[in-house]
Point group: C2
């Protein structure tokens, strides 16, 4: 690792605005840290694209954050984590943290879980990254994975409370419910916005795992261990960069972040 | 205009594979022409992105086709047509044909139409390009426009025959049906795949306008007028380039094109 300035900001990126659920959790767990967020809204979604393209985009996103002088990079996108972590960690010499490992950790925190369902984008599910990581740590686990590619568009269009969304979610979950799933991993940083609907459909009988909070705790532990916590006085900053700006993204960003933020800046990668 | 070789291929681009409905129509109307198709699948969809970003992408798409030596460019994407035609026509000195003008022409071909509904992506509808072009030619027309942003994801996920798609389409069309729409413009090159469902929902009472065929006839007329029809002997070629390759895109491409094609090539823009 190279010499890193603890007072530099944390960098966070996602394909779109879903990764702001992770920023929200980081702000709660690490209120003293400055954060630079990049959402690649010009090329969203990543989840339906090929591993090669996802890796190329993830490298470009990381390079942008590095150009802003960040001290660590949080990959707040399950698809990018699933496909690009090895290449990012070999290319860049600073701490890079994905959402997958914390999600697995949170899933296994309950030793009684036996039948785990995972939902995510086609890219995340096809990578088998969650399935593999869970199976390595708990070979006895029953694992069911379902690609749920329509959920990101439905969330981004704000159809969260629509009957069609309920119908689609029910259909996606049915095969896993039929097999007695006791835990459901939300393998996409957009999905926390569907929690109220999921709780209703699952009737409180299935534990929901949202990796955002666990990921933030993971980042806190890592910064503490590596003595990288910010020590500077003065209010920490939050800077948002998007590769495409639209009213829709700004509205959604507010919903994901549950906080006000300054002007969003548009960047080209 | 610069000197153009009539035996050069036609260039066609779209944000994804929807534009292949136009290629299908071109192959039917101009069976002697070679075609080079570019689908920007790495950055699909365009319809939810800002005008500035759409224009940037459209310029890059056109530059790629020019590097392949095409004699004319067909913009087989309503969103790109709506936002980028002026910039493309001012930047590039070869014939550039969009899908909007032919769509308008086809709509007004029936002089009895009075209440026209338009469906398209958020980008296309917000641009008011169809609304403006129709109103300029028929100021007495009642025009209703609805952004239907979930249809592209539903089609790309091949949920065409699903009850949720039916529910969503019905909801999108209801306000226009309530107002007595007699003609519905499919303002997106993906939508022809929904025709069977639309016919069922509209109960044959509403005329459907699909610009693909009219666009192809428009291209034929233009090539004839400018003496640009291919004269070379030998079988014409069809070359497909996508900025992201996946099985899903290849399956969909076959469905859109209703023909076999050779190896699809991946390109970076």
């Amino acid at each position: 690792m190279i010499e890193v300035n603890p007072n530099a900001p944390l960098g966070v990126f996602d394909s779109g605005v879903g990764g702001l659920t992770v920023v929200r959790a980081l702000m709660d767990v690490l209120p003293g840290e400055s954060i630079i967020y990049l959402g690649d809204t010009a090329r969203v979604p990543y989840g339906s694209k090929s591993p090669e393209t996802i890796r190329k985009f993830a490298v470009e996103d990381t390079q942008f954050l590095l150009s802003k002088g960040v001290k660590a990079v949080v990959v707040a996108c399950n698809t990018a984590t699933a496909h690009a972590m090895p290449v990012l960690q070999s290319m860049f010499r600073l701490p890079i943290i994905g959402v997958l490992e914390p999600g697995v950790e949170a899933t296994l925190a309950d030793p009684h879980c036996q039948r785990v369902g995972i939902i995510g984008t086609a890219g995340t599910i096809k990578s088998c990254a969650y399935q593999h990581a869970l199976a390595m740590k708990r070979p006895d686990l029953q694992i069911y994975a379902e690609a749920t590619p329509l959920l990101v568009p439905l969330i981004e269009e704000d159809w969260i409370d629509h009957p069609a969304t309920k119908m689609i979610v029910k259909e996606y979950l049915k095969p896993m419910l039929d097999r007695g799933m006791d835990t459901l991993v939300l393998g996409c940083t957009h999905y926390p916005l569907l929690k109220p609907l999921l709780v209703k459909i699952l009737n409180n009988k299935v534990r929901l795992v949202d990796s955002a909070v666990v990921c933030a705790e993971h980042v806190k532990r890592l910064l503490t261990e590596q003595e990288l916590l910010r020590t500077a006085k003065g209010k920490p900053k939050l800077e948002l960069y998007l590769t495409d700006l639209s009213e829709q993204f700004e509205t959604l960003a507010k919903r994901f972040l549950r906080a006000d933020f300054g002007r969003v800046q548009r960047v080209s990668l």
